[in-house]
Amino acid sequence: MKMLLKKSRKNQNYICRNNKKSLTGWLFILPSLAGVSIFYLIPFADVVKRSVTEGMGSEFVGLRNYTTVLENEAFLLAAKNTVKFMLICIPLLLVFSLLCGVMIKSIRGRADIYKTAFLVPLAVPVASIVLIWKFLFHENGFFSMLAVNISGNSIDFMNTDLAVYVLIVSYLWKNTGYDMILWIAGLSNIPAGLYEAASIDGAGRIKQFFYITLPNLKGMLFIIFILSVINSFKVFREAYLIGGNYPHTSMYMLQHLFNNWFVALDIEKLCAGAVIMSIVTSVLIIFFKNSIEGGR
């Protein structure tokens, strides 16, 4: 009996301590959670509500705001441009940064200086290099001069459909270092024993790359892909500083459109647009996560 009592008291103590501990946990989180709720979660709930109601009033309009957005020509153009931009630049970035990472990982001697060179663009404000992009891509600029020397014709990247390439180049320039660091972290986690075993079995370096390196980086691919998608939205900065509010149509991105709706205070469209974007982003995250984990 005494034993039992002692045990139960111990249990009680334990529970009590545990409760106290979880309460302390909440206390640590509370300031952050309060701010996140006030500035993000609660207003987002309001956004969802507003996306199915009429502008000022509270009349329920169903999915009307959504169909308005989805039929909006500017939205279709911006969405098409954004998707097209991502389809080109994200695979390019993933492959290029992986190659850089593999090269840096493979060399003997100091690699830090190369990392610095690849990472430096992250620190460079877009406003600083607008003139450089202009110098490179203008009809009377550097690449156009190269083109004249090679083919006799000049190229204008700024005011034609080629404008999107300016964004692709600046995106690659800016983000290669970031992704490369992530790839290197992934590469470092692959046990060296795998490579030793493979080379004993007579597998060459190319074979090792495809049969050991790539499969082992699959988990890393998910997070690098997601972060690259997120960073690709920021290319708006370049587009804005190069082209202003209304750049060449091939550079017109979703953020331009949202800004223009914002200036016009078109809250209905903004709300529906924000909900659509959040759904697309979430689906992307879930789909990509599952497809990678399923492939394992």
């Binding site: 946990g25 956004v47 090269m103 620190a123 156009s144 997120i230």
Partner: protein
């Protein structure tokens, strides 16, 4: 093998040069004489295909500090924008330090009901593009009458969940034994956070701050949307109407905009790398 190593080095050197080329160009250009700049860059300001293309000298033809003197002494509006940037970036980082460090500690070191779901929500928020949060932000800022004020940019940025996530990774890595030992010695939970969490998680805090500084120094979307008053605009929106005659001043201001993030980057590169890695670790 050594031959292969050499080839890799050569490729990497070439790529590195390509990556730092824009920086070198800004620096060399900022020391160039204005009239030479006009001659070199004027073709960029003409539409239509010209015979002679723009040029950029690797080493200035007529090096001078004149443009520096002009910007540093005669352009007050540039300095206002510089301070505007500082008045946004430092309060944001300060706030993140005070609010998000304990937040990350709570997520990393305590178990409570609903924690995992809440943390998943934080991760999703961290991944949402600005287009999603823009109208939410607008609604709150409008409600609190914070539109067109610095606080309207600072407050939402403080509660960005990315910094919580990065610090979380580092706090999670502190061995349990250390904390249990402190508990044995009678330290209370808050003392443990202050005396063990903060010192041992310092690299994580530094990583979050370095990433944060680079992010907010370059912040463009938020001030563009929420600061109507151009007197409040930060440097990241500095976009003078570039004409051939002012290219010298423009290049000098580019260099000055660049110096703070470049210094932070060079001092904190180790932490930047750690921070990037932390952003990529799986749950």
């Amino acid at each position: 093998m050594t031959f292969k190593n050499k080839i890799t080095h050569i490729i990497l050197i070439a790529l590195s040069l390509l990556f730092i080329m824009p920086l070198l160009m800004i620096f060399s250009g900022s020391f160039e004489n204005q009239s030479q700049l006009i001659e070199n860059l004027e073709p960029l300001f003409n539409s239509g295909n010209l015979e002679n293309k723009a040029k950029w000298h690797a080493i200035p033809m007529y090096p001078t500090l004149k443009s520096y003197v002009e910007i540093l002494l005669d352009s007050p509006e540039f300095f206002i924008m510089f301070w505007n940037s500082c008045k946004l970036v430092f309060p944001i980082l300060m706030g993140q330090l005070i609010i998000n460090t304990p937040g990350a500690w709570g997520f990393a070191r305590y178990d409570f009901k609903g924690k995992n779901a809440l943390f998943a929500l934080y991760i999703v928020l961290m991944l949402m593009p600005f287009q999603v949060t823009m109208v939410s932000n607008y609604i709150v800022l409008n409600y609190f009458k914070l539109l067109n004020t610095r606080m309207g940019i600072i407050l939402p940025a403080i509660f960005s969940t990315l910094s919580v996530f990065i610090m979380y990774r580092f706090f999670k890595g502190i061995p349990n034994a250390v904390i249990e030992a402190a508990r044995m010695d009678g330290a209370n939970e808050f003392q443990i956070f202050l005396r063990i969490g903060i010192p041992m998680g310092a690299p994580g805090i530094a990583s979050a701050m370095v990433l944060g500084f680079l992010e907010y120094w370059n912040m463009l979307e938020q001030p563009l949307a929420f600061l109507e008053d151009k007197a409040l605009w930060p440097l990241s929106l500095y976009m003078p109407a570039i004409r051939p005659e002012v290219t010298g001043g423009y290049l000098v201001s580019s260099v000055i905009i660049l110096i703070p993030p470049l210094l932070i980057f060079l001092i904190g590169q180790k932490y930047l790398e750690k921070g990037i890695q932390a952003s990529g670790l799986k749950e």
